[in-house]
């Protein structure tokens, strides 16, 4: 026969101060773990959730990202014009666009400096993006003019990013004419016309080409073992003699750009969880040992009335689990207010700043609860074993 759950729950409430302190201590530990995880989630979902499968990215062979990719203009044109897989529209021709990418050093309002992504685009980019990209203030830039539009997240984070402000890049003053919103990483970028961007950067060609492909196109996976399928677009272009290129879907490309920072954040979260988890488990053990010590008599009575050691073990295990899960819930509550808080750091892969928000996703909450259950299991084992191994006479005799 098992000990009623009521006993477990009430026991926790008898020792209010100790329970409160333990729950809160474990809660803070869980909150730290969940907070770092929320940071990692915010960062990776910003990149991966927006990557489209029907948009492909062409990079120079061997390039790891936009920063180390570069095309000569003619090669870029050839890619755009010659591939039958690229979707065509009567009014725009092929749905493909050349884009340049660079970092521009800008000041934060507090005076610190950061590299902000500066992208030069052709008009086709806007056609490909469609409703994904929305101008929320002002207007789009006029092709050929020294005008820029800025991502929404830059407005408060970077100086001179309000509509009407002027930003000098190299020697050219650019006027901010609009603010745009996008759910992906573009929202921390500055966009200008490709021709003007190449001119101020003193660059000879774009960094990448993007295109919308026809449905059903076999794109191929450049990261596949032994290279991409030779029949696929990626396989064909990898070995093309005239205009070789590395081809990825936009989703795969964006994912490849998050590995470094995403990995660091995940590693930090795990390291903190392990180190602090040990401390939190100690707190749980301490609390439970003290609880058992002060309830030796009760345990003696339970044993004397015929409860087997197993139910007693289960009861104390449950008590620890409850203690830790309450801690886990407190941790989740503590971490909730950071949901949506904007933060930013340098993405090690692109050397430019990305702004993103903490995201307390179901994954984060799930991981936090799992973590607290794990703490309970580890923390409860020893005290529960100790309780169930007592002999009734010895337990009753102790005062």
């Amino acid at each position: 026969m098992f000990i009623p759950l009521n006993y477990t729950v009430r026991s926790l409430f008898v020792r209010k101060a100790a329970t409160f302190l333990s729950v809160f201590g474990i809660g803070v530990t869980v909150a730290i773990f969940a907070g770092v995880l929320a940071l990692q989630q915010g960062f990776t979902t910003m990149f991966t959730s927006q990557g489209r499968e029907d948009v492909i990215v062409f990079l120079r062979p061997g390039a790891t990202g936009e920063t180390d990719s570069q095309f000569q203009r003619e090669r870029g044109m050839k890619l755009m014009k010659s591939l039958p897989e690229i979707e065509q529209t009567p009014e725009h021709g092929p749905l493909a666009s050349m884009e340049s990418y660079s970092g521009v050093l800008r000041r934060r309002p507090d005076g610190g400096e950061v590299n902000v992504a500066f992208r030069g685009v052709q008009q086709a980019t806007f056609t490909i993006r469609g409703d994904e990209l929305r101008i929320i203030e002002g207007r789009n830039f006029t092709p050929g003019a020294d005008e820029i539009i800025v991502g929404k997240k830059l407005v408060e984070r970077i100086q001179d990013c309000h509509v009407g402000d002027v930003m000098v890049i190299n020697t050219t003053p650019f006027r901010v004419v609009g603010v745009f919103d996008h759910d992906g990483p573009f929202v921390s970028e500055i966009w200008a016309d490709l021709e003007r961007a190449l001119a101020v950067l003193d660059a000879y060609g774009p960094n990448r080409v993007i295109a919308k492909v026809k449905p059903g196109t076999l794109i191929g996976d450049v990261n596949a073992e032994g290279g991409p399928d030779p029949a696929s677009l990626a396989g064909r272009l990898a070995n093309d003699t005239e205009a070789p290129a590395k081809v990825l879907t936009e989703r795969a490309f964006l994912e490849s750009q998050t590995q470094m920072l995403g990995g660091i954040l995940l590693g930090l979260g795990m390291a903190l969880a392990v180190i602090m988890g040990v401390g939190a488990a100690f707190t749980a053990i301490n609390t439970m040992l003290s609880a058992i010590a002060s309830r030796t008599n009760e345990i003696g009575i339970l044993l004397a009335t015929g409860f087997r050691p197993l139910p007693i073990f289960v009861a104390f295990m449950l008590e620890t689990l409850l203690l830790c899960v309450m801690g886990g819930l407190v941790g989740c509550v503590l971490v909730l207010p950071i949901n949506g808080i904007e933060t930013g750091t340098m993405n090690g892969q692109t050397f430019t700043e990305v702004a993103f928000a903490f995201r307390v996703t179901p994954v984060v909450v799930g991981a936090a609860i799992f973590f607290s259950v794990l703490l309970g299991m580890i923390g409860g084992l020893w005290p529960a074993l100790r309780a169930c191994r007592m002999t009734p006479t010895a337990a009753l005799r102790r005062t």
């Binding site: 803070v28 590299n115 301490n286």
Partner: protein, 387 residues
């Protein structure tokens, strides 16, 4: 007094050990988090006051023409100048990341005395066209295990080799660094080889940064102003700043991460404080009768207060000292683990002093509530208390 406190702690060995151990872990974590911030700032402090950096005003993404070198040299007061270009290649797999630069070798040794290399290796480097020198940590990396004489093929992700293959560099020496801002995980090779190779396909490499030194006694402010003004109207406008400002820019790019680490440290401290208070409350509750006895024997309130505070202090000091010890013991291991990103891992004396102060404060804070409670108790009530 100390003996009494100690005995009380030993009476509950498991609880005392666990509490001390969690203090130890928390202090370790706190020291490590602070050390990361210290490490980030180390570059600024170690920056040379005599070296000045010229870069494109746009950002480090953008190069300057090679011809700028002669024009900067002509500015009155400029002594030695050298070129640096980020090569951005990789060995076999993009994951094998380490920094490579094309440099002017003579100027490197002249301007960077912290780059230490024996004379023979220097000569070999200067006389080998595709020669390179690599840092001690890079040479010792088990993924590479390069030694003098080895050939290193690198894929030029940023600068593809004109013949389509890999660039090949010959290791001429392994340098060590005597300063925090000079990385031992870097490879440097000859600018001339870099430029001549690219020229074969008609490419004209640009320069990432120029590093120069002023003549002794020269007016640095004036020189910086003149260099900036010289290229104000293009084709590529520049910024000229002391090395320390250049380093500060890199830290600034880390954004909110150092601040977040600070927050985590604070939260760790709070969690720790709660754990300690909990333990001391338990100890206080159990010792109520003992305290009744002291009081009945004629000891005053202050003594009762002290017994508990001393216990709390002892717990924290033992755990904290172990935490500091562990930090120092783990330092080499951590330094190796983060070597790819940070050249050094510095545990500053300030961090250790800060930790020590924190430990004492923690001990006092955790002990005060139970101690105050105990000292206020009437002896008769205390004696009557059930265990």
């Amino acid at each position: 007094m100390l003996k009494l406190a100690w005995r009380n702690l030993i009476a509950h060995p498991i609880r005392s050990i666990l509490t001390s151990a969690s203090v130890c872990i928390a202090i370790l974590l706190l020291c490590l988090l602070r050390s990361i911030v210290t490490t980030l700032d180390a570059g600024i402090e170690a920056a040379s006051a005599t070296r000045l950096i010229v870069m494109s005003s746009i950002s480090l993404f953008v190069d300057m023409p090679v011809s700028y070198q002669q024009r900067i040299e002509q500015v009155d007061g400029v002594d030695v100048i050298g070129k640096w270009q980020w090569f951005g290649g990789y060995y076999q797999n993009p994951r094998n990341f380490f920094a490579q630069f094309a440099v002017d070798p003579e100027h490197l040794f002249d301007m960077y005395p912290e780059c230490q290399l024996d004379e023979e290796a220097k000569q070999r480097f200067l006389s080998t066209r595709n020669g390179c020198i690599i840092g001690r940590k890079l040479a010792d990396d088990p993924n590479f295990a390069w030694k003098v004489g080895d050939k290193i093929p690198l894929v030029g992700a940023l600068f593809p080799h004109p013949d389509g293959g890999a660039w090949e560099f010959e290791v001429c020496g392994v340098y060590t660094s005597s300063a925090a801002n000079f990385d031992e995980r870097t490879m440097m090779f000859q600018w001339k080889f870099f430029e001549e190779t690219l020229r074969t396909s008609g490419q004209d490499p640009g320069v990432g940064v120029f590093v120069f030194r002023c003549e002794p006694g020269a007016n640095v402010e004036r020189i910086m102003g003149e260099v900036t003004a010289m290229f104000e109207n293009g084709p590529m406008s520049v910024r000229c700043a002391p090395e320390s400002e250049f380093q500060r820019m890199f830290i600034s790019m880390m954004g909110d991460i150092p601040m977040l680490l600070g927050w985590i440290g604070t939260a760790v401290f709070v969690a720790l404080l709660l754990g300690c208070v909990n333990t001391m409350l338990m100890a206080g509750r159990e010792q109520v009768r003992d305290i009744g006895i002291y009081k009945a024997l004629g000891f005053d309130d202050v003594t009762a207060f002290r017994v508990l505070v001393t216990q709390s202090l002892l717990l924290c000091v033992i755990g904290g000292a172990a935490g500091i010890g562990l930090t120092l013991a783990l330092k080499p291991g951590i330094a190796a683990a983060i070597a790819a990103m940070f050249p050094v891992f510095i545990v500053a004396d300030e961090t250790l002093i800060f930790a020590a102060v924190l430990i004492v404060l923690l001990g006092l804070a955790a002990g005060i509530v139970p101690a105050w409670r105990a000292s206020r108790m009437k002896p008769i009530e205390a004696l009557r208390a059930e265990h």
